[in-house]
């Protein structure tokens, strides 16, 4: 381990290898009080140094580990404390509602530009708006088209009723005004922000306001045409397949898509796909093998060179 050689834990704590447990604890406390990142919120270097000291203490404060270290069975590297986020990392952000203005309240008394700034800052804290709370809600594809209402159970045990507007798309966020945490002073409560996740549906795909569906049809439905049932998000409808329909033929069900702004709706596009029965019926097989016109037809004429 050249280069990245970790320092000897006795040196880090500044104690002799023969030091007693009490001496080690007292040396650690002395250093840690000075170096704890939360007691040095502006010193980025404190965290590294504290980690080193805490790691050394973890090793030497455990008699078993210390014995093994002294015997050379383990080295210093095993003593590293796992990373953790300190209070200062959060307190510096806007969420730090513990922060007080006791350290500068007197500065806010004057009439200079600084006093103004201090006053504004104190006022902003006194009238802080509540925090927004973020949630995620998974809904079915059908519900994303038809709309509906869902009840979320919150981590706190409460519930939240969410009404889902018809036509919502995956990733859209709903804002429930005032359903976040309460504010202080004149600051109102925050909002609840609900990110909608639409579970994919094996049948439907969404394309803007339109919906597409791949619909299998039989050979006789394709050749002769006929009425078939087609699923739509709002229930099955009957649709007429024209005689001579092909794989890839796309039919439109007007107004069966997602709602648009202004009251209109998108369409559902039904893409037909001819599916042959398996195994092939012997009669069909017999017919096709004697079918001259069928053998003469080359559907690949356009792509042949």
């Amino acid at each position: 381990m050249a280069g990245a050689r970790v320092k000897n834990p006795y040196d880090i704590l500044g104690v002799a290898p023969a030091a007693s447990a009490a001496e080690i604890q007292s040396a650690y406390r002395k250093l840690a009080k000075k170096l704890h990142p939360d007691l040095n919120p502006g010193d980025k270097g404190a965290e590294e140094k504290f980690k080193e000291v805490a790691g050394a203490y973890d090793l030497l404060s455990d008699p078993e580990k210390r014995k093994r270290y002294d015997a050379g069975e383990i080295d210093e590297s095993g003593a590293e404390r796992p990373q953790h986020q300190y209070y200062r990392d959060f307190a510096d952000s806007d969420f730090g509602h513990y922060a007080s203005d006791g350290g500068f309240a007197d500065f806010a008394q004057g009439d200079d530009p600084f006093a103004d700034l201090f006053r504004r800052s104190a006022e902003a804290r006194a009238n802080r708006r509540g925090r927004d709370l973020h949630y995620r809600l998974e809904i079915s594809f059908v519900e994303s088209i038809t709309g509906g209402s869902e009840r979320i159970t919150l981590p706190t045990g409460g519930t939240l009723d969410v009404s889902i507007p018809a036509g919502i798309v995956d990733g859209q966020t709903l804002r429930l005004k005032g359903k976040g945490t309460p504010g202080s002073g004149k600051g109102g409560p925050g909002d609840a922000l609900i990110e909608i996740e639409v579970r994919p549906d094996p049948r439907f795909k969404r394309d803007g306001d339109d919906i597409t569906i791949d619909l299998p049809i039989s050979l006789s439905e394709a050749v002769l045409g006929g009425k078939i049932r087609v699923p739509t998000p709002t229930g099955d409808v009957t649709m007429t397949v024209p005689a001579g329909a092909n794989s890839g033929t796309t039919l439109r069900l007007k107004g069966k898509g997602a709602p648009r702004r202004g009251g209109a709706r998108g369409d559902e596009f039904v893409k037909l796909r001819i599916v042959l029965e398996k195994p092939i019926d012997p009669d069909l097989r017999a017919f096709v093998s004697n079918w001259e016109a069928g053998k003469a037809f080359n559907p690949r004429e356009d792509i042949a060179r």
Binding site: R29, D38, P41, Y86, A99, S100, L154
Partner: protein, 114 residues
């Protein structure tokens, strides 16, 4: 970010009894929703700091109160310093822009003269 009670306890390394006790002492002041506690990462990190103070550092309850009081003031001051710095940066930027406009104006005026 909001976290649930289990995650709070795991992150802070304290138990339910201590959580209740520290809330009663107002060392922790989590938000309250409809009667239930709303615990955040901030609260968990603060609980962990208190645990360090009481455990590793041997600070007694009175000491914890004083430390928290001072730490809260430091963060209040830091926030004001951040705002102050932002204000000064905005002022400085708009001053630079005004100076540039003046210089360009002077150059244009000189060119027009001959």
């Amino acid at each position: 970010m909001t976290i649930d009670t289990d995650e709070f306890l795991a992150r802070s390394g304290i138990d339910m009894r201590l959580l209740q006790q520290w809330i009663e002492r107002e060392w922790l002041r989590p938000d309250r929703g409809d009667a239930a506690l709303i615990l955040s990462e901030l609260d968990a990190a603060r609980a962990r700091l208190i645990r360090d103070l009481k455990g590793d550092f041997g600070v007694n309850d009175e000491g914890v109160e004083i430390v928290l009081h001072l730490v809260d003031q430091i963060h209040g001051l830091r926030r004001v310093l951040v705002e102050l710095r932002r204000d000064m940066q905005t002022t400085r930027r708009s001053t630079i822009r005004r100076t540039r406009v003046r210089k360009v104006g002077q150059i244009a005026a000189k060119r027009r003269r001959p």
